[in-house]
Symmetry: C2
Subunit: 324 residues, 2 copies
């Protein structure tokens, strides 16, 4: 891609005085007309490129857009995000990912959208996905595991998320089993895992992730006040979504590969360490139609919750938890 090559050179020369069109043209063995077109394209994508005397081009600002050009830049993954489909608007990144997975899209394919018009939450609920405020994304994975082990991937994803947020922002992010991430008890990210499987083996897994990055209080409806939050609201700072996404992909890939080789137990201590808001606490749990109350005793090697109810210990593979 021409614009990508131009961008690479401009980024390299960011701190120097910039590059002339003729130098760009000769470096890339392109006619100057193509260089002009490439620069126009980059500007359209939100890159600020200054021109001195109409000759020297200098990159002064990079957009925080979830576009392949930015996500790929220095991304240290081998699988996740190697192929990226990026959209201004989608109904639901998970729905598109599911369809693409059925059509044999390769493992690691990433679908991102600046805005979702029908973002999906768990159990048929909606996930608010206002434009450019968060990271709305889905990954296609094809692990060779039995479906009973797939719930572990939800915890792995959550772990990658809280590690990312802690490292990049210093905020104390927590895991809420099985698929939410909280800061100070308020949800800032959710995971929606969907799978296609046989009894013995997963065909594919879609890992849908929504991360509230730069919302302000007014971006949330009133009924979510005190329940939902964003990284901006908690930290007072505006973080680059591209940088968060890249770190998240890198951490998730490492965890995913170890999960496939060694199983969830490889990360169980870390997962439990990040689940202190749940372990040892009283919860209400909705499991299918059943309502269960108890104390969270443990998370086991399958990613199931071990709950101490009045009568006995129960192993719960998934459900809707409310902390009491």
């Amino acid at each position: 891609m021409i614009s990508e090559s131009i961008l690479t050179l401009l980024k390299r020369e960011k701190k120097s005085g910039g590059l002339s069109a003729s130098l760009l043209s000769s470096s890339l063995s392109l006619p100057t007309s193509s260089v002009y077109e490439g620069i126009a394209e980059l500007r359209k994508l939100g890159y600020k490129i200054e021109t001195e005397k109409g000759k020297i081009y200098r990159l002064t600002s990079v957009p925080d857009s979830l576009i392949p050009l930015e996500i790929h830049d220095n991304l240290k993954t081998k699988i996740l995000g190697k192929r990226i489909l990026s959209y201004r608007t989608l109904k639901s990144t998970n729905d598109l990912a599911y369809r693409l997975a059925e059509e044999k899209a390769p493992e690691g394919t990433l679908i991102v959208a600046e805005k979702q018009t029908a973002g999906k939450g768990r159990l048929g609920r909606k996930w608010l996905s206002p434009p450019e405020r968060g990271i709305w994304m889905s990954l296609i994975l094809r692990p060779k595991i039995p479906p009973a082990k797939a719930p572990g991937l939800s915890l792995c994803t959550g772990l990658a998320l809280v590690k990312t947020i802690r490292e990049k922002t210093g905020l104390q992010a927590d895991l809420k089993w099985p698929n939410d991430c909280l800061i100070e008890g308020k949800k800032f990210a959710g995971i929606l895992l969907e799978l296609s499987a046989e009894l013995d083996k997963v065909n594919f897994v879609i890992i849908g992730v929504g991360i509230n990055v730069n919302q302000v209080q007014n971006d949330f409806p009133k009924n979510l006040k005190g329940k939902a939050t964003s990284i901006l609201m908690e930290s007072g700072k505006r973080y680059s979504r591209v940088e968060l996404l890249k770190t998240f992909l890198e951490k998730l890939e490492k965890i995913y590969l170890n999960f496939k080789t060694f199983g969830l137990k490889f990360y169980l201590d870390e997962i439990k360490g990040s689940s202190s808001i749940m372990l040892g606490h009283k919860v209400k749990l909705l499991y299918g139609k059943e309502k269960i109350r108890g104390i969270v005793k443990d998370i086991d090697e399958n990613g199931s919750l071990i709950l101490e109810t009045r009568s006995r210990l129960r192993t719960i593979s998934s459900g809707e938890v409310t902390l009491i």
Copy 2:
């Protein structure tokens, strides 16, 4: 449907002398030309309809074809098979069922084919489906259960199958966990369960079933000798596929409804009673990439196998079992 109405009347009068075209025409308030067309259509479907003196029509034989006209006839179900899609040839009934389920086909939709060109077995293997020799079918179910409970449906289906075969043929059919049915140690039916799910809830389940009914030894390749069989080969009798299918649908519906209300434990004793070839026996088991040896101790409420290995008891949700 005109042909359906004519067929109903002809079946009712099967033992009497038959019906004249004019009586059919007046009974159904149809012009005689439509009656002639309907009879021609029925004959094309394989119904033998004799004519006496060109005037009296009498049904002398009904085809053993997996067509809605025959399957619906006196079928005592409320959900399963209420909607039937019937094909001469399909690649795979499961694949079509999966696509239809995604397009919101209702619960209970039945897909049958006289022949599959790419019939699917477990783990990407093939299922031989020669024309008119067996029952190659898939059902769409939409139970509101967590995916961890879905494997129970495979055992429920197997139970409905062995009950059907025992009742209709007197043969001693056995369940081989998790999804095969055997007679005298040889496989005559297999179940391929596929599902689309979230972490918490199943979107839909496809129950694929292949039943070898009227194959002879030469219908099987040599490498399956001693491993695969048919009901004809075991009983020496040719059974009506339509009758077997109807009984199976009726039994499965009853079991399915109880499973949804009460869980697998409602049928656990019956399932264990039909699994005597496994319980207490030594097996090799392939679980993902892991090879496990042990003695089958039990089947639990989730449909998992409890295996006593050298070191400990293990709970296995699915796998490939070989009896030693």
